[in-house]
Amino acid sequence: MSEGRKLPGFCIADMPRRQNYSLPYSLVTPKSVYLSRRKLLGSLLALPGAAAAAQKLENIRKTGYGRGETLTPYEAVTTYNNFYEFGASKDDPARNARNFRTRPWTVRVEGEALKPRTFDIDEILKLAPLEERIYRFRCVEGWSMVIPWIGFPLAELLKQVEPKSSAQFVAFETFFDPKQMPLSAWSGIPFPYVEGLRMDEAMHPLTILSLGLYGEVLPNQNGAPLRLVVPWKYGFKSIKSIVRIRLVKNQPPTTWNLANPREYGFYSNVNPDVDHPRWSQKKERRIGEFFKRDTLLFNGYGNEVASLYAGMDLRKNH
């Protein structure tokens, strides 16, 4: 397995392994270190207006996910974003989403369900115990990060509405308001942004609804107040600022696939052997690192999710 690749400082292959993410917690960058790093970087970057303290999330349960990974600094996670509603450049969302209104906020969960209903965001925050999940995040553009998300399995929310057996797929929709998102007109993709998962992908324990990162509520540019995180798929599948979730019978349309079907498939599982038509997916640049790393099949979560695609042609169903 390629996880045995020698890296400066440590070697994943040397670690005791139960699952491919189970590594001694001592290898995770200690919180005090990343916090002091943040303080230092923060004082260097000090953007006017960015100083407003983010709201802390309480009672977060630590999990074993992502042990051994070095966290991508908070500043990078929150200033290098793709959120086309707020502009197509990476630094646009941090600038333009500053006044995005995320309260009041409701999420409609409907479709093939026995008890479809609307949830208030504050209710969702209390729906299930909050967990910290440190996940690798691989963008289709060829860069990656390691992000300490806060959230809980999407399954917890879906169970609330009691999906019918006819629910084969889940369709997600991002909030859209051209008044709050004037730059969306130039992005070149249709809105509202929509995404979708197969039901088994949506119910998978790795799939989470994220409500925060680095112990705080989600910054607006990262998809506040709640977003999806599917760590074995390219980042654009992890839809932001969700307002509607529909359980449906058929495979729903997805935004990047609508914009360019040849380049962005419905599944979009991270796969080093299936190139994007315009660039190779064999390697990735982990933000903050000089050399590129090998990209891992299913972003390294193969042990957990490969069985979902048993017998499927991953090239055809890219």
Partner: protein
């Protein structure tokens, strides 16, 4: 204006001006101030300056004629060579910082990926122009042949814009702007050529 263009310090001043973006990038890289993904930033900016300086090079002739500043010709070679300089930095960034000299992967990229094919073509078209930019080469080739060879600059410009256009994911405004600038410059040249060929039709008598 014409006196300013003819002045002795004008050339070294332009030299420093053209060098400034490279120095700025180098300083930014040194201070770690190129943002979250510095290599992406360097790639983008060296590519942009290649196109900008190529546009400046192609603007010399129309401006000489239409604005009546014949002195501009003094700067054309320098502008063209600086465009090539940024193209070299851009290509070096790709070969070194992006591919780490993995030549088989680079060859595959050039063959398989249209946007890289276009970029490589643009670079290949610029190379002989830079190599034959000296007086000696003009004499060796003869003015007419030299001029014909240097029409490759249009190939470099078109392929360069296409390279940028095909690279962009969905917001095509910036490459479209470069395409527009090059189109205007080309039309200006056609206009000049026509008025030069038929001076009586264009000049009011």
């Amino acid at each position: 204006m014409r006196r300013l263009l003819a002045a002795r310090p004008a050339k070294p001043a332009l030299f420093l001006l053209c060098l400034a973006p490279a120095l700025w990038l180098a300083a930014g890289a040194w201070r770690g101030a190129l943002g979250v993904n510095p290599i992406e930033r360097i790639t983008l900016e060296t590519g942009q300056w290649t196109l900008r300086l190529l546009a400046a090079t192609l603007a010399v002739t129309p401006l000489r004629r239409l604005a009546g500043w014949p002195e501009l010709i003094r700067f054309r070679r320098m502008l063209g060579l600086f465009s090539f300089f940024y193209a070299c930095l851009h290509a070096l960034t790709y070969v070194w910082l992006d591919q780490f000299f993995d030549w088989s992967e680079i060859a595959r990229d050039i063959v398989k990926r249209p946007f890289i094919t276009a970029g490589a073509l643009s670079f290949a078209a610029m190379t002989p122009l830079a190599a034959t930019s000296t007086r000696g080469w003009i004499a060796r080739l003869g003015g007419r042949r030299w001029q014909r060879l240097h029409r490759l600059v249009y190939v470099a410009a078109a392929a360069g814009v296409l390279h940028f256009w095909w690279k962009v994911k969905s917001d095509i405004r910036e490459p479209a702007l470069y395409a527009l600038v090059f189109a205007v410059l080309l039309l200006a040249r056609l206009f000049i050529r026509r008025t030069a060929a038929h001076p009586h039709t264009a000049a009011p008598v």
